[in-house]
C-alpha cells in the first residue's frame, strides 16, 4: 500500500512538468485566434495573418474589455510563421477555438498541401475549422468592418453553421478535407469567398467553389453548379431552380425542391462506362413570371416536361463541361475501379457517358393563409 502511494505521488509530481496541449493556461492571458489566413508574398515567403480576440484590463469594475487583434508574420514555411507569430503578441496565441482558415488563390494554385500539413500537425489547432479560398488581398479582407459581427472568423463560421444547408452553399471543415483529399480521385471543392463590393455596407459572401485536384486549384464552379453537384451527391435536401414558362414564352417559373432521391448506377462494357442517374423529385411552384393555368392538364404536363428536360440538360452539361477539362468531379474513375476492379482505367473519364432520367412531381404552389 505504501509503495502504491509513493508511485501515485510520483506520477502526480510528473504531471507538473507536462507541457504542450496539456499545460495550464489562463484564458485572460491568451490570444484566441478566430481566423488564420495563409498567403505568399512576392519574395516567396509564407505569410500568416491572424485575427484574434484578447481581453485587457478595462476601466470598469466588473471586468475588462475585449479587443480584436490583427497579427501578421512571415516565415520560410507556415510552421515558421506559426512560431514567429508568438513573438508579435504579449500573450501566447491559442488556436483551439479557431473558426476559419482562408487560403489565398495564389497558394491554392500552387498547392495547399504543405499549408494544411502545417495546420494538421499542430495539435493545438482545432480541426473543426472551416476552409475557404480567397482571391484578393488578405489585408483588405481583414480590414473590413462588418457591423453585425466584427470578427470575420466567427462571421464565416456562422454562415457555414447556420446557412450551410443552403443548396448553393458548400462547406467543408479541415478534418473532412484532410480525409477526403486521400480518397477517390483526389478532387475536392472548397468554398470561395469574396468581398461584396456593390452592396450597402461591407459584407463578405460565399460566391462559388474552387475545384482542387490533388490539393491544387484548377477550376471554379458557380453557385448553380454547386446546387447540381450537391443534388447528384444527395447533399441538397432543398433548393430552387427555374424552368421555362409553359404558357408565356421567354418567361420562367421558379420551382422549389421539396424532396428528391437520386439512384445512381454504373455499367462498364469493357471499353465504355455509363453513369446513370435516376432522379425522383418533388417540387412546388415558388414563383411564376406571368399567369399560369394550373387547372389545365396540358399546362401541368408541359411544366413537368420542362422541369425534367431542364434538369437532365443541366446535369448533362455539368458533367460534360468537366469531362472536357478532364476533371473527374463525379469520381467516375473511383466508381469504376470499385465496381470493376479489372477495368482499364486509363482515360476512363473520356470513355464515360452520362444518362439522366428525371421524374418530377409538382405539388401545387406555396399557400399564403394570412394576407395581413
Amino acid at each position: 500500500m505504501k509503495k502504491k502511494k509513493i508511485l501515485v505521488s510520483i506520477l502526480l509530481l510528473f504531471t507538473l512538468f507536462l507541457g504542450g496541449c496539456f499545460s495550464y493556461k489562463d484564458m485572460n492571458r491568451l490570444h484566441f485566434i478566430t481566423l488564420a489566413i495563409a498567403d505568399k508574398d512576392p519574395a516567396g515567403r509564407d505569410v500568416l495573418y491572424t485575427e484574434s480576440f484578447a481581453a485587457y484590463r478595462g476601466n470598469t469594475q466588473e471586468g475588462g474589455t475585449i479587443q480584436r487583434v490583427l497579427l501578421e508574420t512571415w516565415g520560410n514555411t507556415l510552421p515558421d510563421a506559426l512560431a514567429n507569430i508568438q513573438t508579435t503578441a504579449p500573450f501566447p496565441t491559442d488556436y483551439s477555438v479557431n473558426k476559419a482558415i482562408i487560403l489565398t488563390e495564389k497558394i491554392a494554385k500552387e498547392g495547399i498541401g504543405p499549408y494544411l500539413n502545417g495546420f494538421e500537425r499542430d495539435q493545438d489547432i482545432s480541426k473543426k475549422t472551416f476552409l475557404f479560398i480567397y482571391e484578393d488581398d488578405p489585408a483588405e479582407l481583414l480590414n473590413l468592418e462588418i457591423k453585425d459581427e466584427p470578427y470575420l472568423g466567427i462571421y464565416l463560421e456562422n454562415i457555414m453553421t447556420f446557412q450551410g444547408n443552403q443548396s448553393r452553399l458548400l462547406s467543408i471543415r479541415l478534418n473532412d478535407y484532410l480525409n477526403e483529399r486521400l480518397q477517390g480521385s483526389g478532387i475536392n471543392l472548397l468554398p470561395i469567398i469574396e468581398i461584396q463590393k456593390e452592396a450597402i455596407g461591407e459584407r463578405v459572401e460565399v460566391t462559388a467553389a474552387a475545384v482542387l485536384v490533388n490539393d491544387k486549384m484548377v477550376d471554379k464552379i458557380s453557385e448553380d453548379e454547386i446546387l447540381l453537384y450537391k443534388l447528384l451527391n444527395g447533399d441538397a435536401s432543398h433548393g430552387e431552380f427555374s424552368v421555362p414558362h409553359p404558357n408565356e414564352k421567354g418567361q420562367f417559373i421558379s420551382l422549389n425542391i421539396l424532396d428528391h432521391k437520386v439512384k445512381e448506377n454504373l455499367s462498364y462494357d469493357g471499353y465504355e462506362a455509363t453513369l446513370s442517374f435516376d432522379i425522383k423529385g418533388i417540387a412546388s411552384i415558388q414563383a411564376a413570371e406571368g399567369p399560369i393555368k394550373l387547372l389545365d392538364e396540358n399546362t401541368r404536363q408541359d411544366l413537368i416536361n420542362n422541369a425534367q428536360n431542364s434538369s437532365e440538360r443541366n446535369v448533362r452539361r455539368f458533367f460534360e463541361k468537366f469531362q472536357e477539362r478532364d476533371i473527374d468531379l463525379l469520381d467516375v474513375k473511383n466508381r469504376v475501379e470499385q465496381k470493376y476492379p479489372h477495368a482499364d482505367l486509363k482515360d476512363i473519364l473520356q470513355r464515360t457517358k452520362i444518362e439522366v432520367n428525371t421524374e418530377i412531381e409538382i405539388q401545387g404552389s406555396q399557400v399564403s393563409t394570412d394576407f395581413h
Binding site: 485587457y56 475585449i66 483551439s96
Partner: protein
Amino acid sequence: MKMANFKLEDIKIKLENISDINYREIKCGRDLVTIVFFKNLCDTALIDDFVIRPLLYYDPSRLFKGINIKEITKEVILLGPAEKIDTLEEALSYLSSGNILIFFSSSQEVIFCDAKGYPSRAIEQSSTEAVIKGPREGFTEDINSNLSSIRRRLKTPDLKVETFQLGKQSKTEVNFLYIEGMAPKRLIDYVRRKINQANNKDYILYSNALEETLKCKGTPFDTIGYTEKPDIAAQKISEGRIVVMFDGTCFAVMAPYFFIENFQTTDDYTMNKYMANVGRAIRILAFSLATLLPGLYLALSTHHFKVFHSIFLFKMTIFRAGIPFPTVGELLIMLIFFQIIREAGIRLPQPIGSTLSIVGALILGEATVRAGFASQVTVVIVAIAAICSYLTPKLYIPIFTWSTIIVIFSSLLGLPGFITGFVLMVSHMAGLTSCGYPFLYPMGTLKTFKYQDVTSRGDLDRISKDVLTKDDNS
C-alpha cells in the same frame, strides 16, 4: 446481615466543598435518619411525599424492636427500587445519578432509592432534519424521554435495550437498541464490542466518542449515521440496524450507515413516490454538482477552451481580464471564502448568522468581483456548488474535501486530471466499510441485492425490509 463499609462521615468528607449536596435530617422514633441527595438532580417534592412523610408516620411502637431496614425498604419508602448499598464507590455513583442515600443512626446499613428529577428541554421540532409531511418530533437530551419516543413506535417485546455506562467518571448512560431476530448477531456483537472499547476515558460526554470508534478512519465521509428524529431511528431499527442513544445528546447513532442514505429523507416515504423520486434525483444531482462542478469548470476553462461556445468564451475572458490570480487560485480563494462564511454563519447566534449569510452572499460576492479577486463566472460556479451542498448537509465536509482535491487534479491535468480525481473519490468510497458492510451498499453486493430503495423508491410494500439479515446468514 451485611453492613455498609462506610459511614455518613465518609460521604461528607468525599463531598466536601459541594454546595448543591443536601443532608436532610429527620427524627424517626428515637432514630435520626439522614437523607443525602443532590438537590439539582432529585425531585424534592417526591422525596418529601414518598420518603420523608412515610418515615415520619412510621409506627413508633415497632421501633422498640429496633430499625428493620428490610421492612422500611419494602413497606415504608414508597419510591422504588429501594435497596441496600455496601460500598462508598457505589454510594457516590448512585448519588451522582440522581438517587438518594438514607442513613440510620442506629444501623450501619445504608439504603438508596431513585428520586431523579431535574429540568430538561421539552420535546421540540427537529431543527436539522426538517420535513414537509411527517412526524416533527425530535430527540431531547433526556435519554429516557428519547427511549420512550422509540418504544411508542416499536411496540414489540423483541425491541431490546441494553444499557451501558461510558466514562469512568462521567458514567454517561448509553442505550443500545435493536430488534432481536432482525438485527444480525454479528452486527450486535460488533457494536457491543466497540462500545466497550470506547469506554477508555474518564469523561465521555458526547456520542462522537462512540461514533469515532465505529467509523472508518482517514475519511471525511460519515460511515456511521446519526439522526435527531425518533421516527427515523425507529425505522432504522426495524430494518435490522442498531441505534445507540447517549444521555445528554439529542442525536441517536445508527449503524451501519450507507452512502445512499445521505440522499434519503423522511419525506421520501411519506409523500407521493414520484415526487419523492424527483426530490431524491435532485439531491443526487446536487451532490454531483457540488463535488464535481468546480473541478470540471477549472479543467475546461484552463485546458479545453474549445468545448465552450465562442460567445461564452468571450464573456468569460472579459470577466477574467482584470484578475491577477490564476483561475485555480481564484477558485480556491472563493471556495475557502465560502467555507469561512458558512462556518461564521453556523457559529454566530442565529439572528446574526442569517444576516451574515446575506452579507456574505450579496456584499462579499459582489465585492470580490469588483475588487478583482474573482470573476463573475467563478462566483457563479462556487455559488451553485455551495447551494447544491446545502441539499445534502451530512456530506458537507466530504464535498468540500473532494471538490478541493478534484480542483487540484483538474488544474494539473485538465479533464484527465478531473477524471482521475473522480475515480480516486469513487475508489476511496468503495474501500470504506460501515460495521463490516460496504459503504456503497448495495453496490458491489449484486448477488444479494435486495435494497430496492437506492436511486429511486418503488411502492412502499415492495421495499426490502430485511436489508441486512440475509446477508448476515449467507
